[in-house]
Symmetry: C2
Amino acid sequence: MTSPKPVPPGRPRAFDIDEALDRAVLVFWSKGFEGASLDDLTEGMGISRPSLYRAFGSKEDLFYKALERYTEGLTAYFARALAEPTSAAVATAVLHGTVEAATMPGLPTGCLGVHGALATGDESRPVRDALIAWREEGIAHLTRRFQQAVDAGDLPPSTDPHLLALYLRTVANGIAVQAASGSSRPELLQVANLALGSWPKL
Amino acid sequence: MTSPKPVPPGRPRAFDIDEALDRAVLVFWSKGFEGASLDDLTEGMGISRPSLYRAFGSKEDLFYKALERYTEGLTAYFARALAEPTSAAVATAVLHGTVEAATMPGLPTGCLGVHGALATGDESRPVRDALIAWREEGIAHLTRRFQQAVDAGDLPPSTDPHLLALYLRTVANGIAVQAASGSSRPELLQVANLALGSWPKL
DNA sequence: GCACATCCGTACCGATCGGTACCGAAGGAG
DNA sequence: CTCCTTCGGTACCGATCGGTACGGATGTGC
């Protein structure tokens, strides 16, 4: 059995690459892609500029990798929510998870997938489009989950799974924006519950 | 009776200042405050850089004036919505107006008050805060309107007017984000109607 | 006609942007 | 110990950023 760490040649990296990525997430999250300068990033990550480029390629590549890590880490509640037994439980878990993730003490408010690059100059359009695709992917997952619920008789046959998914994503977007505007966690939980009040009853 | 146009001394301005402001709105709307460079603005407004500074002071001042004009113009549906006779009609008019304004053919998608400066670098923080205040003002207007509805017996006495206002603003924020992600007007109208389904029935 | 105020645009400012050339340091392989 | 590869950081690159100095043009009031 080969070692999982086939020590690479050359001088070893002096910093932990995942830890640096975690810190980059925080910078992009609070300032957005365009608002985060390389000086902001290098200071926040605790590494020098050439180290950043060697490890991550470019500012844009760094953002994509940070988004990936954000998705696997801080939005893991989403994957768990999809595994809930009923569609109503899925919706509740998604919105409650969104509120919690968007109002974590000690972390930036809102959601990287919403704030990262909502409106940008032409140069950052690829990043903007990547975030659109990121949100679209969430909708696609929810749509499949709700289609499954319709098939299983958990939702009325007349239900439009895509509409429900889009509705949830829309409310989640709004929660992220309001969290970044300073709305508190209890306030937003009430909003989430109000939004869940219109969930189709079987 | 004095003339309303007391012709000022000096060479007259060669462009219409409100028209230029309208065009600035479009640039800020589609690219955001940070993403809109002075070259973007001067090209979009059809005036030179010093003309822009003489007429509007700075990029930041220009943004504030553009936001003001946007509020009085493209979001006039909001003031009309507040004048609807019932709280349910107010809510419907707000969300339908939001969807329409966010998906106007020939105009940028979404909402300047949401996209303009959601996450920014430190330098643009005043602009970000101004947009937070802008959204907060909308919530305050709605809160007063719903308090009035409670007082008039149009809403149950147990209603929390602020919660309803925050809920509407949250859904409107989400609609703006989704519009900027490419969701269509019919889709978003369905989402708005779904959101209105949880409106308190008297 | 003349003085004055404001406008116009060209051409420029220092600062900051994202990105990199370079060279010494630090590890493994022989 | 030498070679090779990759790391580290300083010091720099051209491009673009927001903002302005300046000189010519165009209007009103006297």
